[in-house]
């Protein structure tokens, strides 16, 4: 038996739950077929979410899932340029023609899909991205020069979340694109995803008792993102997410973290997302999205 998970035509944080729903009880007993034929567009969040699904199935010792590539040439080429197929080939049995194009040739890909599993990977990511990030933040988003370092800091801390808490590796991608419908402005998006422990399991030993009956995915996200709690007893821990929040409050950005069956967001005025969504279809690990919009009146 094969179970089919269709990739939504427009695959991003808003349609992610639809994709997660298709897996049913985790891990699924049946072989999975991830069907991307109808996909027209995917955000970095969506693309690395697909890889996390493949990784989670592999780590659950399930049969290698099947993957059918998008029918659209343009979509396939775009996904290839992000580096998606290069990583997906290790996790999925791919069906369909995959174009051979070099990664990162698009100006809107600040960082193509990059695996993160160790501290050295974070050094690589941060080191590679800074010069282009400075140019993009300033020219395309109208942000002041000092926003660049804060951006790289936020990226570093988001990646370290995988290294410190996931118990496995994950992926990061950074793209710039136009949010015509949602915002009417260009945005820079950091997406980080892993198929690891998730926030609830990571914090359970130290926090579950404190929350009592409320303990669950949502409470764990609240503890980490709102209260700055970490699983480590070291009092200096938990400052990474606090630092990201501080940066985002200055530049009117948004962070949302999905883990297990909950998603918690710090929602700026320009967005209408729910601050907390509970009882979502389960998805392993943690998926983080950071969005920084072009400044109003700045570059578009």
């Amino acid at each position: 038996m094969t179970r089919i998970a269709e990739v939504p035509a427009s695959f991003d944080d808003r349609t992610f739950d639809q994709f997660a729903q298709a897996f049913g009880a985790w891990p699924p007993d049946e072989r999975m077929l991830v069907d991307a034929r109808a996909a027209q567009w995917a955000s970095p969040y969506g693309l690395i979410g697909l890889l996390s699904a493949g990784q989670a199935l592999r780590e659950a010792h399930r049969e290698k899932p099947l993957f059918t590539v998008p029918a659209s040439d343009d979509v396939r080429r775009y996904w290839a340029r992000t580096g998606f197929f290069r990583h997906a080939a290790e996790l999925f049995e791919i069906h369909g023609k995959v174009p051979r194009v070099p990664t990162s040739e698009d100006s809107d890909q600040l960082l193509d899909i990059t695996p993160v599993g160790a501290s050295e990977d974070v050094h690589q990511v941060v080191g590679r991205i800074q010069e282009r990030a400075a140019r993009m933040l300033s020219h395309e988003l109208g942000l002041e020069a000092k926003a660049t370092m804060g951006f790289a800091m936020a990226l570093s801390e988001a990646c370290q979340n995988i290294v410190e808490h996931a118990g496995t590796s994950g992926w990061v991608a950074v793209h710039v694109y136009n949010w015509r419908k949602r915002l009417g402005r260009r945005v820079i998006v950091i997406a980080v995803s892993d198929a690891g422990l998730g926030f609830r399991r990571s914090l359970e030993a130290t926090q579950a008792k404190r929350f009592g009956d409320r303990w669950g995915d949502a409470a764990a996200l609240e503890a980490a993102l709102i209260q700055g709690v970490s699983r480590f007893r070291d009092p200096g821990r938990g400052q990474g997410l606090a630092g990201i929040k501080r940066y985002l409050s200055r530049w009117d950005g948004k962070i949302s973290i999905r883990s297990g069956t909950a998603r918690l967001s710090i929602v700026p005025k320009w967005d209408d997302d729910l601050p907390l969504a509970e009882h979502l279809p389960f998805f392993p690990g943690a998926q983080v999205q950071v969005v920084i919009p072009a400044q109003e009146g700045g570059a578009r």
């Binding site: 050094h123 690589q124 941060v126 800074q130 370092m149 790289a152 800091m153 801390e157 400052q239 630092g243």
Partner: protein, 179 residues
């Protein structure tokens, strides 16, 4: 005598990276360990951590290097740490982590210039710190006279600055750190 530690060079020696960024906790811990050994091997009472050649400093690394270095300092030791060459973004990360731990540190800005304080420092403490820096060693009485404060208020501020290791206390007299 002042010991200056160029963090850019320490990074190259401790972590095999072509980049100049102080990021991640393991990197910060390795750099701090190097600094602690260097301090232990030096007779200098003041150590300047030089950020001049450092690219990015993230919060985790700032916590591991600066905050934990201060937290690990023996309260009885006559040794002080200051910063040099810290850019605005470095200062912001360091300020953030020091506030979290209720710590503080001085950043040397230029010869003869009042160092900038980062971390958990009130405007009142900054005023007293500036007073001692400009006027040289003094006691609670001289600071109280200078600022028109009560003796208790001045003594309390001086003691707090000494506990934060922003001034050196010696027999009731408070000395600015050498810059």
């Amino acid at each position: 005598m002042i010991q200056t530690i160029p963090l850019g060079r320490v990074l190259q020696e401790t972590v095999a990276t072509p980049y100049r960024d102080l990021v991640t906790r393991p990197t910060g811990a390795a750099v701090r360990s190097w600094i602690q050994k260097a301090i232990a091997g030096s007779a200098a009472p003041t150590t300047l951590l030089d950020f001049t050649d450092v690219g990015l400093l993230d919060f985790s690394c700032a916590d591991e290097i600066v905050a934990k270095l201060l937290l690990d300092t023996d309260p009885g030791a006559d040794h002080y740490v200051m910063l040099l060459g810290a850019r605005e973004d470095h200062a912001e990360a360091i300020d953030h982590v020091l506030n979290h731990h209720a710590l503080a540190i001085a950043v040397v800005t230029g010869p003869g210039e009042l160092p900038r304080l980062l971390g958990r420092v009130t405007p009142e403490l900054e005023r007293v710190f500036g007073c001692v820096f400009r006027l040289g060693p003094g006691d609670a009485g001289s600071i109280a006279d200078m600022l028109g404060w009560t003796l208790e208020r001045a003594a309390d501020a001086l003691l707090t600055l000494a506990l934060l290791r922003l001034l050196r206390a010696e027999a009731g007299t408070f000395h600015p750190l050498p810059t």
